[in-house]
């Protein structure tokens, strides 16, 4: 069987057309299903300010966290490094969404930490992919990969990230905690929700250290968890809700 030129050219043109049209057919099968069902865990923390304020001037959560994680103690405020710290209510909640409900908290010091946002702005801006959101919601930082550009610090609306302006080893005890690394100069660090403890099925250190049980930690995806129970029964607020970051740290009032 032979094929003439006209026939061949026609077939070639049709093939090229079919090849080019192929991608446009993909859309007909419906949108790609990106949204996965909320499987697994979604870690979250609840702060109960009333319980926290019961012990005046208590900083045990901060001490427990900063000692175990080798967070340097730097006097100079511009250079300080902090994972969990106390902030005045008006500074932590500047939007003043529920002015009269929150009246009792005005001027009070509340514990604040990384919110492990559902939409973390720090992750969006990191050019090195050194910070990312894990499947369980924890916003992690890979200190090996951090290049110290501090974009994430600029993006975080909560000031949860600290930069090591100096070698942190010079700002801690002679023997740092041996089972956790220190950081180096030029690296950004923050709270990790104690992911190294969660891997061993232990609760975060701040939660364990609180004598008033003002911090509650748990899985948001588990309807029977204590955090879900608290969120169901108490009125809760989050920091800067208008930004749409969806923090995983709630304050029940």
């Amino acid at each position: 069987m032979s094929i003439d030129r006209r026939h061949f050219l026609g077939l070639a043109g049709l093939s090229a057309l079919a090849f080019a049209a192929r991608p446009s057919l993909d859309g007909l099968e419906g949108p790609a299903s990106d949204e996965r069902a909320p499987a697994g865990t979604r870690w979250a923390m609840i702060v109960d300010p009333k319980k926290c304020l019961a012990l005046d001037g208590c900083t045990r959560c901060i001490a427990a966290c900063h000692t175990a994680h080798n967070v340097p103690l730097i006097g100079e405020r511009r250079h300080e490094v902090k994972w969990i710290w106390k902030e005045r209510f008006e500074r932590a909640f500047p939007s003043d969404e529920n002015a009269y409900t929150e009246e009792a908290l005005k001027g009070k010091l509340l514990p604040v930490l990384c919110n492990h946002c559902e939409n973390p702005p720090c992750v969006r801006v990191c050019p090195a992919k050194a910070t990312w959101k894990r499947e369980d919601g924890i916003v992690m930082t890979d200190w090996h990969r951090c290049i110290g550009c501090r974009y994430c610090m600029g993006a975080c609306p909560y000031g949860s990230r600290s930069f090591n302006w100096d070698d942190p080893r010079g700002h801690m005890g002679a023997t740092p905690a041996s089972d956790y690394p220190t950081r180096t100069k030029g690296v950004v660090e923050k709270c990790t929700f104690c992911e190294e403890r969660l891997a061993k099925r232990q609760r975060p250190l701040c939660v364990e250290a609180c004598p008033e049980a003002a911090l509650v930690f748990g899985d948001l995806n588990d309807p029977k968890s204590q955090v879900r129970d608290l969120l169901r029964t108490r009125h809760s607020i989050r920091r800067r809700p208008e930004l749409g970051t969806q923090p995983a740290v709630y304050y029940v009032i």
Binding site: H144, S178, P181, R183, A199
Partner: protein, 144 residues
């Protein structure tokens, strides 16, 4: 070609100077052998398997990979562990002999190889490398 003698003499002198380190080492009988490393102190880090006693574990020295592999490629293994733990939250390592270990530099490696100066540093100095691992990872005190 009147300068031939000068040129040849210069070349010989140059070659002699360039190869001086070789001559010197031959003459001085310098030992280029590998540095002596501290023996691992204990073997008890791998996770116990069901029905195993801790005593059996202590009497049986083993590493996460054969010695030859560790000598040549421990840095590759450590990098893999690092990526697994930090970025994939995968902390369990099954060694070539079936034993399970925690992927941890301070928690697993240093439990046996605790003497940084006599173990890590000796070879790193010999090889002329300066890894940055210990800038952050604490080697001073090891709590098993």
């Amino acid at each position: 070609m009147r300068d031939r003698s000068f040129i040849v003499a210069g070349l010989v002198l140059f070659l002699g100077l360039v190869t001086f380190p070789v001559w010197y080492n031959v003459a001085a009988r310098t030992d280029p052998g590998a540095p002596a490393l501290a023996r691992p102190s204990a073997a008890g880090v791998r996770l116990l398997r069901r029905g195993e006693s801790a005593r059996l574990l202590a009497s049986e020295p083993s590493c996460v990979a054969p010695r030859e592999y560790m000598r040549a490629s421990h840095m590759r293994l450590l990098t893999e562990w690092r990526e697994d733990v930090v970025r994939r939250a995968n902390r369990s390592y099954v060694a070539y002999d079936g034993h399970r270990y925690e992927k941890s530099f301070t928690g697993t490696c240093l439990t046996c190889h605790g003497d940084k100066a006599q173990f890590c540093d000796r070879c790193h100095t010999y090889a002329g490398v300066s890894p940055t691992c210990m800038d952050c990872h604490v080697t001073a005190v090891v709590t098993p």
